[in-house]
Symmetry: D2
Subunit: 139 residues, 4 copies
């Protein structure tokens, strides 16, 4: 399976005066899901990436549609699928659902960079291998 799944409870801090998730908070959830996936799924934490490795993986494009609102207390299942890995890029699809309804769907591109220069840098072998393994298992 090329999927990685995290659970995210909708907290008071995520909700707006309409009583539903304020959409910029979804992007914090997306970022946190990717962060958890790097550490638990790929074996390299953001702390290691930004620290010892002197690199980073900023999001350069993200396209999102919000299908249904999420309410305080909802438990979201956030699913990450690898679409494609390039030299220094990575295309992901992230889909969140709860109680049988889809909440949002994003496709995004990350780029692996050198933190000092901010320039794209090829994915290191361990991350590339871990990602390719997921793609292979999915095919």
């Amino acid at each position: 399976m090329s999927h990685f799944n995290v659970q995210q409870k909708v907290l008071f801090q995520h909700c707006d005066p309409a009583g539903i998730v304020f959409y910029p908070r979804y992007f914090e959830m997306i970022n946190a899901a990717v962060e958890t996936w790097f550490e638990d799924g790929l074996g390299v934490s953001f702390a290691q990436l930004l620290g010892a490795r002197g690199s980073g993986a900023p999001t350069v494009t993200i396209n999102t549609s919000f299908q249904n609102p999420s309410h305080l207390g909802d438990l979201l299942a956030i699913d990450i699928t690898v679409l494609k890995i390039g030299g220094a890029s990575l295309d992901l699809e992230i889909c969140a659902q709860s109680g049988g309804t889809k909440r949002f769907e994003s496709t995004l591109t990350l780029v692996h960079i050198n933190k000092e220069t901010g320039r794209p840098n090829p994915w290191p072998d361990d991350l590339r291998d871990a990602i390719n393994l997921l793609l292979k298992e999915a095919s």
Copy 2:
């Protein structure tokens, strides 16, 4: 001109450990820009919309690319352009630049809803007229 422009300073709270704007914060800026435009450009505040009018204007899709990072202290010029108004929908383009470089670009669709039901509701005449006036001036 169909444009509306707001200035947004990049504050400490917007920046991440890499020293640049954490991208979910851009969506807060986008939401704040739209909110300011409704109040100052179209004449109806979000407080009126959600309060007395019992309506709302959630974002249903948003596609964004981040061209260049923004740093602490940068002054962003955030420009809103109306692309199209439908029965209950509104397509916008939002572009931010600073110091001559583009920072991010979004196209998004808002839908005017009845707050109680969450269902789409045609734009009221005053908002529709104000938006159409902008489109007319631009053509």
Copy 3:
């Protein structure tokens, strides 16, 4: 034990350009810890409180000291202790530590209110009993 404990990982979204937790994010963690305690420790979720019960429990005072900075990837142990329950008030102490060092310490007062009027409202029996049970176990 009058204690309730939650674990909170320090995520990228919590950290500032100095690479440490931006202190307003600690207050989101505190609010989330109290929210988790209400649901898992006291048996009444914020969704129930704000929804069916038509009440709320806003924080009216909070005094905090930050002893040591927290870094990306730190796992915080956040401990809630009940200090005192009044008619409609509740005094708590919240202490966070990681790796053997204290990170922050807060004392705060919540007030149970009627959501409509915003006025203080005595704690309902089930919440009062659950809180008193914690206090009794601690003595």
Copy 4:
């Protein structure tokens, strides 16, 4: 006058499902007010402080009471008063009001630090002089 004043509109992003400001957002407003004061009132921006000067001014204690809720669209007048300057510390009082009612009041202590070591570092002369000038004008 030892006062510095900033205006802060209550935006959609600040409000919770109860329709009032979510209190952690007040701390973002407080941090932004202090940041604006450093740049516009004292002549040294946070970008300069953290960048060229290699220093920082983290908040080490903050005690806050919330007197009245703030609603979407409220315009807050946030007032900063210098209470005392020490070798590397600075005690401030921050008070926010709107429409004739007090919203929150904070007393906080900042410490000027060396960014590398994280250790307290005496305030540089230009900042100390600018702060002392405010205190003198107030007496």
